[in-house]
């Protein structure tokens, strides 16, 4: 059924259709609307015996999810930013124990300086935690990916994050096609746990494992991610059969067939990139885009196949590996080992900096002329940076950077973009 609703509400409805049994969360922007929507549904009795557990922190939210999942319940939680970092230890435990929790990460920057706006620093910080990470391009895909994530996670006994851009998607009203309960039931079978804490058949979960077996347990986590790599295209195609649309999968190509330049990105910025690709194509430029849906497991072969005939690749990412450059770009480089082409990393949109079509036009034009630096920062205020560096040269007690910059640029109550 077509609906014009907020992204968070769309995800709440989709998670509700997945028949969760335990939901717990601690509020943090921009994730809050999702669990509020689910809380209302639990309260109204719409979700049957599903329990909504209020917890005192994100660490507790993940810990309760672990307990609930180990007891055989289909478990869901959501978080963002510092919330994800605060639960980091438990996030690793969930995957180490092989518990198929599904978690929405409403992607948001990490402080300091504190910032509530979107980038991908939070979930990418936990890229090695053993969780599957799927990135949504639209609110339609965000809601679809939750259904797919439960299916994949439970099949493999592996937790999955669905990553959606905070505010840009979570707070956007747009058209979505909400599936029926019958469709979701046809796609997502009842959860049949591989391991369950059952007093009738007691087991212990969470043993200490020494050097004699730790590597094997870890390798099996890696092997499961590789299985996910095989299952994701299959599950996406089954998804299409039931729901009638493309969602999920590993990567998605957009006008890449004869492209000399291919832009790689994740999440909602792909929409803006596609608009720019269309305009540049109209002007005769051979450019295309590659959207990475599965960030973990990393679809190295699919990425390589999509990119290897291009002359240059621009990885545009909302994350920064401080002291290195790109995070996604490093994965892409791994995928392209041995392939000769120009590779550019562009860091963009950190902390909610708008990624403008006009800036992308300039950027892609420069890329086409191979005039980009290996690592560059889209729309960075160099004058602002220079002022800070000069101040630090002039004075030992130069003071706090963020506060100085805010004074320099004269932040007022409202800026348009």
């Amino acid at each position: 059924m077509l609906k014009q609703i907020e992204g968070s509400e769309a995800v709440a409805q989709a998670v509700a259709l997945c028949r969760p049994e335990v939901i717990c969360a601690y509020p943090i922007s921009p994730q809050t609307h999702i669990v509020e929507g689910l809380g209302r549904r639990v309260n109204s009795g719409e979700l049957g015996r599903c329990e909504f557990i209020n917890v005192e922190s994100e660490f507790a939210a993940m810990s309760v999810s672990i307990g609930a999942s180990a007891a055989g319940a289909r478990s869901y939680t959501a978080t963002a930013s510092q919330g994800l970092l605060f639960m980091a230890e438990a996030v690793y435990n969930a995957s180490g124990l092989g518990l198929p929790i599904v978690m929405t990460v409403a992607n948001r920057a990490i402080g300091a300086p504190i910032n509530i706006w979107n980038d991908h620093s939070d979930s990418l910080a936990l890229r090695d935690s053993g969780w599957i990470q799927l990135f949504a391009e639209t609110n339609q895909e965000a809601l679809d990916l939750h259904i797919l994530a439960f299916r994949l996670a439970e099949e493999l006994s592996l937790p999955a994050m669905v990553c959606m851009d905070g505010f840009i998607l979570t707070h956007a009203y747009e058209r979505v096609d909400m599936p029926t309960q019958a469709q979701v039931d046809a796609y997502l079978p009842r959860y049949e746990p591989r391991q369950v804490l059952d007093p009738a058949e007691p087991v212990s979960i969470g043993a200490m494992v020494g050097p004699e077996a730790f590597m094997e347990v870890r390798y099996l986590a890696h092997a499961k991610q590789l299985q996910a790599l095989e299952r994701l295209p299959v599950l996406a195609s089954e998804f299409k059969q039931i729901f009638g649309r493309d969602s999920g999968g590993l990567v998605r190509r957009y006008r890449t067939e004869d492209a000399e330049t291919i832009v790689v990105a994740m999440g909602s910025v792909l929409g803006t990139i596609k608009d720019v690709v269309d305009e540049m194509r109209d002007a005769g430029v051979k450019i295309g885009a590659l959207g990475v849906c599965a960030f973990r497991p990393s679809p190295l072969a699919a990425i390589r196949e999509a990119l290897r005939r291009a002359q240059r690749v621009v990885v545009l990412e909302k994350s920064l590996a401080v002291g290195l450059g790109g995070i996604l770009a490093t994965d892409i480089r791994t995928a392209l080992a041995g392939v000769q082409l120009h590779g550019y990393t562009v860091i963009a949109g950190l902390g909610g900096r708008p990624i403008l079509k006009s800036s992308l036009h300039d950027l892609f034009k420069k890329a086409g002329e191979d005039a980009l630096e290996p690592v560059s920062f889209l729309d960075l205020g160099w004058d602002v940076v220079e002022r800070v560096l000069e101040r630090e040269r002039q004075s030992r007690r130069s003071g706090p950077i963020a506060e100085n910059i805010l004074r320099d640029i004269g932040v007022v109550g409202a800026t348009l973009a």
């Binding site: 840009i168 792909l270 109550g413 409202a414």
Partner: protein
């Protein structure tokens, strides 16, 4: 694609206005995208929200930089925020005020605009009259329907009903309807 930027202050329902506008457009089978300017909203602080309307899927995620229409929910922002940034000279301007453009000191500024695309509506007064609260957003959408012809009053009313119920819906519908009539006159 038609792009609307709505300016107001926290508490005036700016974000809700953009959302209702998108619902109204959806109800007449168009694609629409509404989103806030992602600030930490506080009562009284300047707030911006956007709505795009098109006949095909809207993929663009940048803020609305070159609006086709502006809805200004609070004229006191005229001295605080660059409200007209990016607006084309044939753009639509709807301001919530009981004064005229000239009385607001905008006479000269709008000299080059098309007069039939400029309108003021005393939306706060209408909201107080019908709703008992100074929340002008629904009334302004009624005015916007008349001024732009982009959405119908019926779809505005349907959008109000999706967002509100009971007396609040009734009051907003009455305010929107009166604003629609006033803006059409």
């Amino acid at each position: 694609m038609f792009q609307v930027r709505i300016h107001g202050r926290g508490g005036q329902g700016v974000v809700t206005a953009a959302e209702m506008l998108s619902i109204a457009a959806f109800l007449v089978q168009r694609y629409a995208q509404a989103f806030p300017s992602f600030g930490s909203e506080r009562t009284g602080a300047p707030v911006v929200a956007y709505c795009r309307i098109d006949d095909k899927e809207i993929r663009l995620r940048e803020p609305v930089i070159k609006p086709d229409a502006l809805i200004i929910q609070d004229p006191t922002l005229l001295h605080q925020v660059d409200l007209f940034a990016g607006l084309a000279a044939d753009g639509i301007i709807l301001i919530n005020t009981n004064r005229s453009f000239a009385e607001l000191g905008l006479g000269e500024f709008v000299g080059g605009f098309r007069p039939e695309r400029l309108r003021t509506v005393a939306a706060t007064e209408l909201a107080l009259k019908h709703l008992g609260r100074p929340v002008p957003n629904a009334a302004l959408l009624g005015g916007f329907a008349a001024l732009s012809g982009l959405i119908s009053l019926a779809s505005v009313i349907a959008a109000i009903k999706e967002k509100f119920s009971g007396k609040i819906a009734d009051g907003n519908i009455a305010a929107a309807t009166e604003a629609y009539e006033a803006a059409r006159a």
